[in-house]
Subunit: 135 residues, 6 copies
């Protein structure tokens, strides 16, 4: 199996609901370092998994609605805890939508089998979600 | 699949038996940077894999008997080579015991499916053990 | 010259005032990875710059009032832009106060000559402030 | 499952063919940080996946024909795009040959089940290939 | 003293002349991770050393003529060894020109006192040049 | 000012004397990641601070007597606490001896003005010693 990973980051504010979160129930923020890994069985005719420039541009577009925002204000998350795990899944869903819509060009809309999203919230803690792109 | 990783480190002394280990047969030591990854299929009702604070505290407790110790002196390792691989497995076993005993709270004792332990011994070499928590 | 550095991190929310900050004028947040470097000319009688445990504990205490907070709400910053540079200076001042007050024990209140504070806001950008502890 | 990873790096020149590569169609170069991960189900009688010294030496030997070379000049790549993905696969093949030939000593020629190769081309992009060693 | 650092990278090909360079006399390449540090005594009225967006854009512009190039072909380096040290100095000179020309806006053309450029060529080796911006 | 840094690592065992060290009074160990920075005002005729291969080989030789050793057994440290700070100074002294003895070749024995040694003991703590090579 082949994969390619591109990395970006975003800075957001949010708060979490539930005693389990302790002081993180207060409005605070995070720099999330985001890594997207695209997996496929064979390379395309150029010898790549996907165009890294397009893969990075799609990541930028997926993160844009959240960058420099208070996630508590966004309708998308109105009844949800924006935990690192949940954000990883959200980014996965939007990114997979982009792949299926042909945003990465070439044959990637069909050939990318799975995607993994890693969100690092500090040097000692990170979360990840991975899943299939199709079916 | 979702996962969360927490990281800690410990400093130990030990020696290894067998010509294959070359100068590492002498008493020496290591800073092991330890990463524990907890995997589960769905998030709990708070939107998390596990409480990161508890996950880190359990890791601290699992490492405590080894921290600032000469592993050659510990009964637990009396007939074993404390290689990085073997230590990764040992930490896995103790951590999985803690998960099954409910140390992470919530529904994690049942929901955590697998655990991976990575031990980094220097910037250019690391070992990993992963396995199922149940059955 | 000798130095010792300890590292910690904090997650905060804030907003910045001024068109120069673009989208960072909106309420957002950051994980700041904070490094404190303590410099002195000679080591103490134990052969150290300062007790690393105490140095890390003082850093924890200095960061505590900001951790998991919206800096826009804090009286300390009421008429200030909480830029990374300004926060580095603020942490420097509080840490230097702690050193002069003997918080690090031993002879450090006199012997530590200068302190540097580095705040990393993402993998591609960081700020630093360094200054003398005395005079 | 157990694994061990060793890391090395190489500096090469090359160019890529196809409009998709944009400015990378020009002759340029890269420092590739290379990580080889060896996976096996059980440890050998010394408690290791493989001798780390031999694993690193085999990696060094596999990279040697490319190090400080212009890949465009090498017969091995005469009709191929030396993308990061393709190089990961090439290194995988040569490394797996070495494992099957007993280069790692002990029982590794049979026991190593799979190998993963990660090539980091800059801090924000990397590629990976993993596959089975046998059959 | 305050400083701000921004980071970028570029991929280049080149060769070095002189037996001291061993195999690096052959045409090869490198990913240079480039860090620019801007130092000044006091912050501007916004509380910053310089606008990080502009600082990063100037770095991008300074690196652009070299990115994805064979440095051996550039007139600028026709009689020079493009060592990591020499490239650090070259980037310093072009960046300092940009600062003095007001590219960073605000009062930075006068207020930035010194600049440091670090070029990392692999995880185990890097070079740096620092100097004054004025006089 | 120009500088070049090379990095290596060593694994040692040791214990520290004094209540201030808490559990580190027990025999334990560390992986020390060691960085040597060589500083000079002008480059040599090849355009370098020093031959990186020789700089790395000298570092290897300086670390060799400590690698895979229990420092408590070495006569060199018989009445000393082998703290990270003290080890940084020790490595500085031996490395500076090598520079003055012409181990780096070229004009480095005279031209290298100062050396800095950084020892990282874990991701959150490191020490450094820097000093002049001559006089």
């Amino acid at each position: 199996m082949y994969s390619v990973t591109v990395r970006d980051s975003m800075m957001i504010a949010h708060s979490l609901r539930g005693a389990v979160f302790g002081p993180a129930q207060r409005l605070h923020g995070a720099t999330y370092v985001v890594e997207i890994t695209l997996c496929r069985r064979d390379l395309d005719r150029h010898g790549i998994v996907a165009d890294i420039g397009r893969a990075a541009a799609l990541l930028r577009d997926v993160l844009e609605p959240y960058a420099y925002r208070n996630l508590d204000d966004l309708a998308e998350f109105s009844n949800l805890n924006t935990t690192t795990e949940m954000l990883a899944k959200t980014i996965f869903e939007h990114y997979a939508d982009g792949v299926r819509a042909g945003r990465l060009d070439g044959d990637t809309d069909q050939a990318i089998e799975s995607i993994a999203v890693t969100l690092r919230e500090n040097p000692d803690a990170w979360a990840r979600y991975d899943g299939a792109v199709h079916g």
